[in-house]
Symmetry: C2
Subunit: 147 residues, 2 copies
Amino acid sequence: MRARDLMVDYPTVALTDPAIDAARLLARSNLPGLIVVDDRGAPFAVLPGTQVLRLAVPVYIQDDPNLAAVIDEAAADVFLTELGERTVRDSLPPQPHELPVVDPDDTVLEVAALMARTRTPLVAVVDHGALLGAITLDRLLDRVLGA
Amino acid sequence: MRARDLMVDYPTVALTDPAIDAARLLARSNLPGLIVVDDRGAPFAVLPGTQVLRLAVPVYIQDDPNLAAVIDEAAADVFLTELGERTVRDSLPPQPHELPVVDPDDTVLEVAALMARTRTPLVAVVDHGALLGAITLDRLLDRVLGA
């Protein structure tokens, strides 16, 4: 079993898309994360769902849990709408050293090790810079465990 | 909206459960992660799905991507079955400093900030040491965005 046997079509978001639309895509489709592509359609970032949240949670609150507690309930309820007009590019968290991207010929163990190392339940399958598809953790487990 | 309004019942695994059963639960139920409870039913660990993979991917392969590439395809396909008789306790990755656990009165922003900070799309809701339920990232986004 190789990456090419596990991959499926997967929606992408562009750097110029509104960040709120990216959050809505994640929510509506119950995706484990998002693939952000550049102008040429190549993966620029692969964000686990928790890091899509970071698009919207103010940095000072991420850094200091006590500050989250002083925001009142009504304001907390609408924190995602604070994204306003910001684009995905404006809101991207600092990029990790290693992009969760695999080659179509990589084995399931290479894919699993990459997911574990990058803590990302989603990897992009890329061949010579072109995005072929994606592998989700659910899909990998289903295939490996025969679920 | 408070943690108590967002939480749902969530399956747990015990430290003494076979690790392979934990992986199967994750796969079968398409869960974003697992809550591992101790003998008294209190959360001992909250593992994002990618860290459940770490139960099975040998440590030397997690540390060195090149080593994953030298395992042949047939052996790679069955890496999860190598868990054998190991329990969840035997296989647990090193514990992070911060357990993704919230109080029933925490706001949605506090829950979101914790998910972002711990990179865990699942938090346990605990009151005086007792596990009341869990909040998944999907559930949080659906409620906040009204999806």
